[in-house]
Symmetry: C2
Subunit: 414 residues, 2 copies
């Protein structure tokens, strides 16, 4: 069953109806989200955090246990007097979701659930660049079948979240293009939904949007409500979290940070999008290769890591090249800081690995090109999750319907 | 009483409590907002639109009448059978708000209320550029006192919304700087709140943010949930509406579109912010003067209108200069389209007046520098409200507490 990624938030949902049932479901979701985001916690802690009374929390936790989404474990050790309060923790024994990362050189399928951690994964090295779409999808479907076949008999697969390195239409997972895979106008969402059947919800989203979401929830942007995430491997992509929410734009195409013009001078580099001077062309892996005098290679990521290692070993020429990348990146970030007034900018991909060599160039450009109130309120940090960020974000979108309405759990229906 | 502009939305408010009273207040706000945004409408229309039953709507409308926010007028003429339904319309007989626009060359104070229209205004030509802050504020306070003195004995002033041409901190109306007024670090919000006293709520916001809000609610962006507003007079400022909400950024400083770098070449123009190649320096009034060979003048707006009139009269040199402005503007807009995937871009200030001469240049740059899915989903239009946009936006923020909770009406307390 194909579903639209990034549904409306819980608040809007909860105000639609005015019945006792909708209030109970709203409270159920509130408790589940606290455990999902905050980790194991006692009933007392949930009572204190939600403002609901002790017996209501008891009933809600019991219902979440029935839904197969949490379990109650040993009470936490407590120094204080009184009866210890049982610890409520996320469970993946009954309800799970799959997270899929489609890379240029790999396919990864992982299983996770409430709590937001990945419990198993299958990673296959496979060259998807330029390979026919149908072949990649066939292999992905095999991999999904394999992972689903390995689930315990008690585990229900509820949903699949897919990270795609391309321009994804939010409402149906149609991929306009994915340049690093050679895809143009493919029905990724619908094709996978057809394979998985009506009982499994399918979500597709841009990998950098999912990276932004994951870093916001569990990475270098945790606790920050206004952030920009920017990641560079072959391409440069990103996502913006504003007032705590991932912003998709009108159709889901926002965050194409890689194609913001940052060089309008005569030395601007051509971009594979057809334009010149794009942030991606000026700061991506190919720009770094060109600046350091390397030839193009099929193994771009390895080449880039090699270059960064050389800088770390003390090569000042390479350090200067990375500084220049930082300057160019800073010019792009300056525009975003002026436009969006973010609290934090999280840099992923090779920008994170090379962070120490980029930082001074970025700072200098921000000092030059941003207004001081916005500049003084923003910090720039390397990403914390790296390779797993797209997978963790894909898990989050797959879990979203459950987090909004835990009663949708397939274990509850069973 | 100083208040923070742009409070939390009604949905979040309504889910906090679970009492019957909060539900009634939520419904009251829903009905009031429908009349505020949709204009006069019958009880039957409100019943149909809200899904509430007829007697509930009757009770809610009666309470809004008691709060002094709406009135019931003659039934609308109807061709259908049955008893005609009374028409519910906004009233400014009892509760009003003031909207203030602080310009370089003027001070305007207008009075309006629910319904979003300005019913009276006082406009004073006065040179605020470079004048001491205290003098401008003293004159503004006199003007406010005058307008308040002219209210009917039945009218209560509930709140004042102020549009300031500067970088405004959202939570307290502190103005970091307002370059066209020569202000630096002034307590605009607190100073006006001290003058107006505890019974009147004071909001301060950036004029372009308010323009964005007004165009979104009642202008060229009506009905569009993702839009960028961009306005050029002396400076270039803007605001972004994403998923229906004005985005302030982490501290309220977002929308500084004028300082996005758009020219990194050797011919980049110096900007008064200290940087070079900013959108404002490349496309603002001074850039147009320079391109058309005019001298700087104290009457920039008049000079710009004169230049546009020359283009309209057929001067091809001036038309070419405006085309060049369009190209530069298009480069800045391209980055925003890639980053935010808006549905509409609304151009205000002189960009609206010169729209026909800018459009081709903008389109050409968008074609060159944006990805096609985002480009095909966006349209670029001139603003509809122009001079009144900041005032109308200021009225909206002043009314926001009432629109969230009509029971706060001073008429209800009286």
């Amino acid at each position: 069953m194909l579903a639209s990624a990034f549904m409306v938030g819980p608040a809007r949902e909860a105000t639609k109806g005015a019945t006792r049932d909708s209030l109970r479901r709203h409270n159920l979701a509130t408790v589940l989200r606290r455990v999902h985001r905050g980790g194991p916690q006692s009933r007392s802690a949930l009572t204190a955090a939600t403002g609901l009374n002790r017996s209501t929390i008891g009933a809600l936790v019991a219902e979440l246990v029935e839904c197969g989404l949490v379990e109650e474990g040993e009470p936490e050790a407590t120094g204080s007097a009184g009866r210890p309060s049982p610890l409520v923790r996320a469970s993946t024994d009954h309800v799970v979701a799959a997270a899929v990362d489609i890379g240029t050189k790999w396919l990864t399928v992982a299983i996770g659930g409430i709590g937001g951690t990945l419990v198993t994964r299958v990673h296959r090295e496979t060259n998807n660049d330029g390979r026919p779409y149908e072949e990649t999808i066939a292999e992905l479907c095999d991999l999904l079948d394999e992972v689903v076949g390995d689930l315990l008999p008690t585990q229900h697969l509820f949903a699949v979240g897919i990270a795609a390195p391309g321009v994804v239409r939010a409402h149906d997972g149609f991929v306009h293009f994915a340049p690093n895979l050679g895809w143009r106008e493919v029905n990724l969402g619908a094709d996978l939904a057809a394979h998985l059947g009506d009982d499994i919800v399918v979500f597709v989203a841009n990998e950098a949007h999912l990276g932004a979401r994951a870093e916001h929830l569990r990475g270098a942007g945790a606790g920050v409500e206004d952030l920009i995430y920017l990641s560079s491997e072959i391409g440069v992509g990103g996502g913006t979290i504003i007032a705590g929410r991932l912003q998709l734009g009108a159709d889901g195409y926002s965050g194409e940070i890689g194609h913001i013009p940052v060089n309008t001078g005569p030395d601007a580099t051509s971009c594979r999008c057809g334009s010149v001077g794009c942030l991606e062309a000026e700061t991506g892996a190919l720009a770094l290769l060109a600046l350091t005098g390397h030839q193009h290679t099929d193994h771009l990521s390895d080449a880039v890591r090699g270059i960064i290692a050389t800088a770390a070993a003390g090569d000042e020429d390479v350090q200067r090249s990375l500084h220049e990348i930082g300057v160019r990146l800073g010019r792009g970030l300056a525009g975003m800081v002026n436009l969006l007034n973010p609290r934090r900018i999280v840099l992923g991909g090779y920008f994170a690995d090379a962070f120490e060599f980029l930082a001074a160039g970025i700072d200098a450009e921000l000092a030059q090109h941003t207004l001081s109130p916005s500049r003084s309120g923003v910090t720039i940090v390397p990403a914390a999750l790296q390779e797993d960020s797209a997978l963790l974000g894909a898990l989050e979108i797959a879990l979203e319907p459950l987090l909004l309405d835990p009663a949708r759990s397939p274990a509850a229906a069973a």
